[in-house]
Symmetry: C2
Subunit: 432 residues, 2 copies
């Protein structure tokens, strides 16, 4: 019998689970502060839901099969088609804007590599029914707070911000063909990571005029809105197209998040899919894969769900963020499973041990006791192994006096406590 | 494009999700009070993991397929094989007893009916490495507290308690053949739900002597430990075999949970699988399917994972429990997504609205604001739609004075508050 999970799948032992729960809880709390409501859909969906969005090419990366009812189905590789389906089914009855998030497991049959498994958890946040730059800023702010919540700062993570409308304007101003646009986007995607002359050659091969090449490579290097129109006759037109992005950026500055943002027009995220703002979160050193990414996709709900609602959203995964947190020493210690261990001195004390343990659990304490008769010393060893802070020891004499012995296992102290005062004494001791 | 999920699969819209989260959170808190640690495994596992436990017959009920690497895989129909696999991989390094729980989605390709979907969530709790009746009692107590946590009482839910060792002893005392044992278990499974003469006929057909039939039907009706040995020459032997069950029951009485328990030897749960105590939780009226069930399966970890550790455990599902809670009116109202709505009077107030909203989110409030310029009245309508309790209204005059207007949307009151005192004022207002 195999003891390993499938390749690319993770077992979450309690320590791993505690780390995952820390990530999910931090995310959940942050989304709720933004007024986002949590939803979930099935991990298994009709295959068509995913091919409608991404084409048949996606099937090669899916866990797909025919179910016993002859349905073509697939484990979800992403959440957006499910959101579109769910919103479409009830679009009329829902107050806009819809603020929704989910934290769900996704599946892709891909080659494993660092930061990429065959299953991963992803938070998806969508803001549906609103077109303006404030909606974009709201999502970008949320994505920043989703990493800030772990103690990461703007020196650890950078937000790269672009806008399809601005890129499209730059292409239109130069009358680029579809093939030339693709060539530029491919050069942008590798910008700063391949030598400049390789980029140059690629654009020349695509038949771009040298003036256009200069202008587009200059744009790729712009990191500041003030430089957008510098040294180009198209300044006014470019700046006009940049207006929504400028407003989104200004909103982020008002929220105190301006220092996280880099203008970066080289972000390439499915050219056909996004219609406006696009953004990605990366570790500042760029040694890891993207932490999060998203943008505005105003046509997608129409295409997927048949309802014409503007929408923007993003996803953040647990794998790359988890790597970064571990790298930065921001992985919290897993909480001790037990706070109070209840021990009995003789077998006759067992009923009182059971009654006490259950009463303390009722009161909200995390409590354990030995499940077989054992010497007190052995019971206290188990208490230590379970990282209990306190032990309540009950013996025949204690019972006769209506007392228990309260041992502080951290400070090696002990005192007698009246049964009626035990809960208050435990609360006080745990607070020290 | 379909707007529906696959048959037997659920969409969790925010209201549904809130109910599910209420169930999971109540479960999680309760398990933690028992010192249980949460783990999770992959929803997709090697098919062999499930057929090793349940035989090839199980495949007909699975979502199974061949993955793109040629592996035979299946969506998990239950958690126990995964636990066995995970514990086996690290058995040596783990302090016993192991107290583990998981809350995970499971999948079965079955005919849909009331209380049975094709996916369901299930809490699994296992106590591994301990053989005694106190371990069994600990699990039964946990299962009771998992329903008590929702406000259900012993008048709503009953625990039916049996023991394989006791049943086996009753069979041995009468020298029943394997086929006769099967016949008795089939009669037990339907006991009280079919006429007595049907049961009688069935046992006669299996060739049981009339004295054995009388004794076994009497045992099926016993609900009290005191009646176990009544009117039978086998009393001493039966009572000896019942000793672990009596001790488990006594432990539950010590915990104050005795009133939940019914002795009921007619529980049939995979005769080969369980080796000792078995139990099930049912709604008191028996109108629904079982809420929870489990018991001791000391040989299973050896069979599945190759490590010889005694183990007991149970599972409780979200579907039947959810039905019961709805039936009893114990479904809580979903919390309002927004506590504080921040509104601006003029477009010039937007930066201050954004700054205030972000500051309040930082402080932990659930905050929303309009994502486009709108009249205050329209902004407050959105605040109402989002069930916000409070609104903070910011206008040019307020800004000049360093103040905001705090409106209580529930009590229709309003007062001016200095910006520096806003958080304290909101906290106070929300507490009313």
């Amino acid at each position: 019998m195999a003891t390993q999970p499938l390749p690319g799948f993770r077992d979450f032992y309690p320590t791993d689970f505690a780390f995952r729960a820390h990530i999910f809880e931090t995310w959940r709390r942050t989304c709720q502060r933004y007024g986002f409501e949590e939803y979930d859909g099935p991990p298994l969906e009709p295959l068509e839901l995913f091919t409608t969005k991404s084409g048949d090419e996606i099937v090669g990366q899916l866990y797909n099969f025919t179910d016993k009812g002859g349905r073509e189905v697939a484990l979800r590789p992403e959440m957006t088609p499910t959101v579109a389906r769910m919103v479409a089914a009830r679009a009329g009855g829902m107050k806009k804007p819809i603020r929704w998030f989910s934290i769900a497991q996704h599946f892709r049959y891909e080659r494993q590599q660092r930061g990429r498994l065959r299953e991963f958890y992803q938070l998806n946040a969508d803001l549906i029914g609103e077109t303006g730059p404030l909606a974009d800023a709201e999502l970008i702010a949320l994505s920043i707070d989703l990493v800030r919540g772990f103690g990461l700062g703007s020196g650890d993570v950078r937000v790269r911000l672009s806008d399809r409308r601005l890129i499209r304007r730059a292409f239109e101003l130069r009358g680029l063909t579809e093939a030339q646009q693709q060539a530029v986007m491919q050069v942008y995607d590798k910008f700063g990571r391949v030598p400049q002359d390789v980029s140059l050659l690629k654009l020349q091969e695509a038949g771009l005029a040298s003036g256009d090449i200069d202008a587009l490579l200059r744009l790729a290097g712009v990191r500041d809105f003030a430089q957008l129109g510098e040294g180009t006759p198209d300044a006014a037109s470019l700046l006009e197209a940049a207006q929504p992005l400028v407003e989104a950026r200004n909103a982020l500055v008002s929220m105190g998040l301006g220092e996280w943002i880099d203008l970066d027009l080289t972000i390439v995220r499915g050219l056909a899919y996004y219609t406006g703002t696009v953004f990605e979160l990366f570790d500042a050193g760029r040694t890891l894969r993207a932490i999060a990414g998203g943008g505005r996709y105003d046509g997608l709900l129409q295409q997927l769900g048949g309802v014409d609602l503007p929408a923007a959203g993003f996803a953040i995964g647990d794998v790359v963020l988890g790597e970064l947190l571990r790298e930065r020493g921001l992985e919290p210690e897993a909480p001790a499973p037990v706070q109070v261990f209840v021990a009995g001195v003789t077998p006759e004390d067992t009923p009182e041990v059971l009654a006490t343990a259950h009463r303390l659990r009722e009161a909200g304490f995390r409590v354990e006791y030995a499940l077989r008769p054992e010497a007190v010393g052995k019971q206290l060893k188990l208490a230590d192994a379970r990282r209990a802070s306190l032990a309540v020891v009950i013996g025949p004499d204690d019972r006769a006096r209506g007392e228990v012995q309260l041992k502080d296992l951290r400070h090696k102290t002990q005192l007698a406590v009246a049964v009626a005062e035990l809960q208050a004494a435990l609360t006080a001791a745990l607070a020290t």
